[in-house]
Subunit: 336 residues, 2 copies
C-alpha cells in the first residue's frame, strides 16, 4: 500500500479509502490511485482490509427488553421483520440481542465495543439505560428506535433515530373519544421510563386541555397484556364512573377488555376503548379495537436503512442524515 | 510465555493451557507452570489471551426459520428462554440469528467462521441445510436441537444434540386415541425435511401397526396454524369418515380446530384431537387440547449447558459429552 501511495503521490489513507470504496476522494485522485494499483499489481489482503475497514458485515439489533416480552408482544416481531428484510437485501447479518437483566448491559457493551459488528440498532430502551453512552464511547454507528431522551442526547451530533409522532397519535385517540361524547376518559400508559409512553401521556393531556388530569384516571400497564388487565381493574376501582379508556398499546388493551368483560361493562356501550399500534391484538379483539396505527414494520425498515446509509453501504453514501418521525393515524372500529 | 515455558520445562502450548484454564494437563505439570508464572511475575495480556483462547464470550443461536415463524410459534420463544437463562448465568452473550432465505446460509457461515462467537446452538434445521457442514469445517463447537440427520452425522465424533423422544411421544398420542375407541385416525405432520416431523410420523405408524397407512389420512401442515387449518380441510375432504386426528404441534392443532368448527364437526364427539408440545395454544384451545408434553424450556437449557460444557466453561469441564434425549408425556384434556 505504501508503494501505491508513493506512485500515486497520495497518502496511505487516500489509497485505503479508494481501495475500500470510501467517499470524499476527488475523481482525478481516485483515477490516479487506481492506475497505481493496476501498475503495481497490488492485491489488498482481505484480512488486512477487514482490519482497516473494520467491516464485519454484521449489525447488532439490541432490544432493551427480556426475550419473554419480545416474544409476547407482536410489536417486536413486526419491527424485526422490517429490519431483517432491509439488512438481508444489503447482505448484512442481523444479530439479535436481548436485555435480560440490568446486569447484561456491561456484557453487551463489551461485545459491541470488541468490533464484532459494524453498527447497531437499539430500541425499547429505558431511561438510564447505559447502552447509548457505551455506543458513543466506542464510536459504534447506532440508530435508535424511539425519541432519545438520555442526558446529552441533545448535544450535536444528535443521535439518529426513527419514531412515530406518539404525542399526535394520542391526541387523535383522545379527541376521537371526546367527539363521541365521552367525558370521563382514563388512560393506561406504558412504563414512564420510555419516551413513547411519556409522549402518549402528553398527547392525552393535550387533548383533554389540562396539565394535571385527575390521577384516578391514569394507570401504568407496563406495555403487557397482564399489566393492562390489572391497570383496568385499578381504574374501575378508583373511578367507577369512567366512560372511556385510551390504552397506549393494543396488547394492554386486550388485557383491559378482559377486565371490562369480567366486570360486566359493555364495550363500547358503557366504556369506549381505543388502543395503540394496530397490530394483531387489535383485529382479534372482541369487539375489534379502535386504535392508532403506526407502521411498525416500516419503522424497522427505516431504522435499518438509516444505519446502512450511516455505514456508507447504501446508495446515498455521504449524504446528510436526519432522524425520521412517521405519522400516526386513528383507525376507527367497533370498540368506540 | 517463552520464559515461563523454559523455566517449567514444558511447551508454550502447555503454559497457555494452564494459564487459560484448559484441561488435559497433569497436576504436577500444572503446579510447575504455576510456580514458574509466580516466580517470573508473568501477567497474561488479556487481548493476547483472547487471541490465544479466541474467546469472545458470545454464542450464536441459529434458528433455521424466518423471523415471522419464530415470532408466531411459542415453541421458539420458550426454547430461547431456556437458552438465554443458562447463557446469562454463565455471563455469555446470546446472539440470535434467523435464516430468512436459503441465500442467508453463506452469510451466516461467514460470520460464524470469522471468529465472532465461541460456539453455536442450531435448531429447527431442515434437510440439506449447509450450516452443520460449515460449523464442522470451521471447527465451531456446536450443539443441535433435534436429532441430526445430515450426510455424515453418524460419523465419529457424532454431533452433540438435545431432542425429545418424538417417536415415543407420537406413539403415546395415537395409542391413546386407539384406547378411546377411535379407528380412523388421521395425522397432520410437520414439514418432512425435519427429523422431529419424521419421527412423529414414524410413531404414528408404530402405534397403528402398519408400515403404509392410508395416504388419505396423512397431510403436511408445515408446523404453522394456517397450515394446520388447510391440512384439516384436505383430510376431511379425502377421508370424511375420520374420527380422530393426531396433530404434530399445538399451533397446527389450533388451526385444525378452526376448520373442524367451521365444518360443524364436534370435538371430541365427532373427531378427537391430540396435539404436540403442550404450549400456550394447547391450554387456550377450545376445547382444551390433549397433547404430548415436551419440556421445551428445559431443552433450551440442556442445549446451552451442553455447549458451555463443550466450551469448558461449565463446572464439569473435560468430561465426556453425549447427546441428551428427554422423555415425552401425554397430557389428557377435553379434546379427546
Amino acid at each position: 500500500m505504501e508503494a501505491v501511495a508513493a506512485r500515486a503521490g497520495v497518502s496511505r489513507a487516500t489509497v485505503s479509502r479508494v481501495v475500500n470504496g470510501g467517499t470524499g476522494v476527488r475523481d482525478a485522485v481516485r483515477e490516479r490511485v487506481r492506475r497505481a494499483v493496476d501498475e503495481l499489481g497490488y492485491v489488498p489482503n482481505s484480512a488486512a482490509r477487514s482490519l482497516v475497514t473494520r467491516r464485519t458485515g454484521a449489525v447488532a439489533v439490541v432490544i432493551g427488553e427480556p426475550e419473554t416480552r419480545v416474544f409476547s408482544d407482536p410489536f417486536f416481531g413486526r419491527q424485526l421483520r422490517g429490519i431483517s428484510r432491509e439488512l438481508s437485501a444489503a447482505d448484512t447479518q442481523l444479530l439479535l440481542l436481548f436485555v435480560q437483566h440490568r446486569d447484561d448491559h456491561a456484557r453487551i457493551g463489551r461485545y459491541l465495543a470488541a468490533g464484532h459488528v459494524d453498527g447497531a440498532l437499539m430500541f425499547s430502551l429505558h431511561d438510564g439505560d447505559p447502552l447509548p453512552a457505551m455506543a458513543e464511547r466506542c464510536q459504534l454507528p447506532t440508530v435508535y428506535g424511539g425519541r432519545p431522551d438520555w442526558p446529552g442526547a441533545d448535544r450535536a451530533p444528535r443521535p439518529l433515530f426513527v419514531d412515530t409522532d406518539n404525542r399526535d397519535g394520542a391526541r387523535q385517540a383522545v379527541r376521537h373519544l371526546l367527539d363521541r361524547g365521552r367525558r370521563r376518559i382514563a388512560v393506561i400508559t406504558g412504563p414512564l421510563d420510555q419516551t413513547s409512553a411519556l409522549d402518549r401521556l402528553d398527547g392525552y393531556r393535550d387533548a383533554l386541555g389540562v396539565a394535571d388530569p385527575d390521577p384516578r384516571l391514569i394507570a401504568d400497564g407496563g406495555f403487557t397484556a397482564e399489566g393492562g388487565e390489572r391497570a383496568m381493574a385499578r381504574l374501575l376501582a378508583a373511578a367507577p364512573d369512567l366512560d372511556a379508556v385510551f390504552v397506549c398499546s393494543d396488547l394492554m388493551a386486550s388485557g383491559a377488555l378482559r377486565t371490562l368483560r369480567a366486570q360486566g361493562r359493555r364495550v363500547p356501550g358503557d366504556v369506549a376503548v381505543v388502543g395503540y399500534d394496530d397490530l394483531e391484538p387489535a383485529a382479534w379483539a372482541d369487539p375489534p379495537l379502535t386504535t392508532v396505527r403506526q407502521d411498525v414494520e416500516e419503522m424497522g425498515r427505516l431504522m435499518a436503512r438509516l444505519l446502512l446509509r450511516r455505514l456508507g453501504a447504501g446508495p446515498e453514501a455521504g449524504e446528510e442524515l436526519a432522524p425520521v418521525i412517521t405519522a400516526a393515524r386513528l383507525v376507527v372500529r367497533e370498540s368506540s
